[in-house]
Symmetry: C2
């Protein structure tokens, strides 16, 4: 048997919590964990270049199978040398399978055991996705880590729907595994089970037995209260194999990142940071700052004192507010740079705290400083 494409090295588990520091070894380099993965839905992290992504310290980015298959198409990307060549990014890439998007973006879905027939959101034409199709597309895209094609359910969700979706997800995970051939990629399974502790535990166990090199935790952050999400994590995490990476999909508010880390999650992704940036909201250690607001009109301080990002090193809140009000692209850029750098620093700090067995203090300090009032509504948490 050949060496797996992606391996996870568990470096340290924090003495006072379940928080873990590790290293994800991939064909395109190592990723220290816990890690927030910026989202490049359409093969670009919105408003950013690859160079800037390296400057903010990103070690891995995510791209979306659903979107890229529609435009520009997987064959084109394969011809460009895969996603790494196409988007000029030589560090690791993870592709989502398209499962979540088929259920959240596409129209007129017909779901059978074979797969999902749907109308795509761009031109309405009918398409079909199945475990085999999703794997074939992801093999063409050529990411280091690819995800199984799963069935997502909404919040709230009745028990039977949740169980059916979970069981189908398990059968589809097996089909993805059978279909996947590229030796330089790792295929992660996805735990489902909606908002039932029992189903989550069952799903974690079934997936664990399938022995994937890593696991996504899907179907959370879809509109449920945060407490329910944390409850699900509390239930399922003990069933996850310790020496495999755990990826909480679509989660990325600062508080949820730390709560995930506390419970042993290693990887996260979320569009929140870049989406709110384009609307003029930035993340700081003290909480959310809506720089578009009139109160920053004559505020010549940086977005966040002490931040080392390009926006904070050179520009004032007053200037960035002006750019946003004037509809200038550069305003969206500077806020995006800052938010991505903020999350990168948050996670680097978390990792260091784990290594020094003081993650509980790190988290407590975050809550002490970060003003949570109205910080993030549920809609913003959804990828």
């Amino acid at each position: 048997m050949t060496k797996p494409a992606v391996t996870f090295e568990l470096v340290h588990t924090c003495a006072a919590s379940g928080a873990r520091a590790g290293i994800l070894h991939t064909p395109h380099g190592d990723v220290p964990t816990p890690v927030y993965m910026p989202v490049g839905t359409q093969a670009v992290v919105k408003a950013m270049t690859s160079r800037e992504m390296k400057e903010i310290g990103a070690r891995i980015v995510l791209a979306n199978t659903y979107h890229l298959n529609l435009r520009p198409g997987a064959d084109l990307i394969a011809k460009a040398g895969g996603l790494h060549g196409f988007m000029a990014w030589d560090r690791p890439i993870l592709t989502d399978s398209g499962g979540f998007q088929v259920f959240s973006l596409a129209g007129l879905r017909k779901i059978t055991e074979e797969g999902v027939r749907f109308r795509n959101h761009l031109d309405g034409s009918e398409l079909f996705m199945s475990p085999e199709v999703a794997v074939a597309i992801q093999e063409k895209l050529g990411a280091d880590i690819i995800m199984a094609f799963d069935v997502c359910s909404a919040f709230p969700c009745d028990e039977k729907t949740a169980r059916d979706a979970m069981e189908r997800t398990h059968r589809w995970a097996q089909r993805c595994k059978a279909a996947h051939k590229r030796p330089d990629q790792a295929l992660f399974g996805i735990v489902q089970g909606a908002f039932s502790r029992e189903l989550r535990i069952q799903s974690a166990k079934v997936l664990r037995d399938m022995d994937f090199p890593g696991y996504g935790i899907g179907g959370l952050s879809v509109g449920e209260p945060k407490d329910i999400m944390y409850e699900m994590l509390d239930a399922l995490m003990p069933e996850m194999p310790a020496h495999k990476p755990r990826y909480l999909m679509g989660v990325g508010t600062p508080d949820c990142l730390l709560e995930g880390v506390l419970r042993g999650v290693d990887m996260f992704d979320c569009v929140l940071a870049t989406r709110i940036a384009r609307n003029g909201t930035v993340l700081t250690g003290e909480g959310r700052l809506v720089v578009r607001n009139a109160s920053y009109k004559e505020d010549f301080r940086p977005l966040e004192e002490g931040c080392d990002c390009e926006a904070c090193q050179h520009y004032s809140r007053a200037y960035i507010r002006h750019l946003l009000k004037a509809g200038e692209i550069t305003g969206a850029r500077l806020c995006s740079i800052h938010n991505l750098r903020y999350l990168e620093r948050l996670m680097q700090g978390a990792r260091q705290a784990i290594l020094e067995d003081r993650f509980a203090d790190y988290r407590a300090d975050f809550y002490r400083r970060f003003d949570m009032r109205g910080a993030f509504n549920r809609g913003m948490e959804t990828a």
Copy 2:
């Protein structure tokens, strides 16, 4: 008498043409000429950061009094340390007086000898601009070079309208000069005269006698055929003082830049490069390339072979086309970077050719390679 804020050093006049190489000395550094000045209408060159502007080689940028006075306001910018501090740009800046914008953007104008009463294009409220107001605003903005408040006429334009506008421009130039107090700024006069050789010659002479430290050539590239613009330049340039910089306002297609240089123009500005970039059109040595077009779908070459810009060093036409089609900001950014770098290289090459007395060959080589068919319609030439 104190040393003028801005001085022009005429380094060399090309033996075989009127093309000049010089250096503009300003409080924020030297600008080798001929120079294309990228336009930062709202205190930002659209889609760019200051760092990127330096990387493409820009030595001076332009900003607009009309826009900045409306938003965010000159007092705010003054509090930020002037435009240099506000936009984090420590190289020279030139502000346009707002004359052109009052006549092209604002509504319901009432022009008297005192000034212009108009409704601004943002909220429709009534404002008043005059030579004194335009100078006062530009003193607050704090650019190295500021422009006199002039009266623009359209194309075509009858003789009487053209003469009245020109004569008022001359009287207003005198009022600007009287109003201007900041010793660290240079105030340039503006030659008008519409499309009459006689008026252009007369205007050049009158302005010359007022002894400004530099001269704008206004009212061209407003919709007239290029031949008429060149005819006007041919008429007026011999009347311009040799040791003062000459700035052809609002002109910036590659061919018009070289034609201006040939006739002894030192400075240019135009929004064309960045505007067409955002629409997916780039400039190359071989002509215009509409990278949005389907023909570039699988073209993995850079925008322009041999170009040293960030876009051409890392990304393919196919990728940039994908970004543009997908509505990604990064697509507009990469095209903007390339177009600005293209014009910078074009002008650097022109300067070197002038210094080596081979500008005529440089220009001929440009036309030999550059496909002019449908290259630029008149609308695109207008700032």
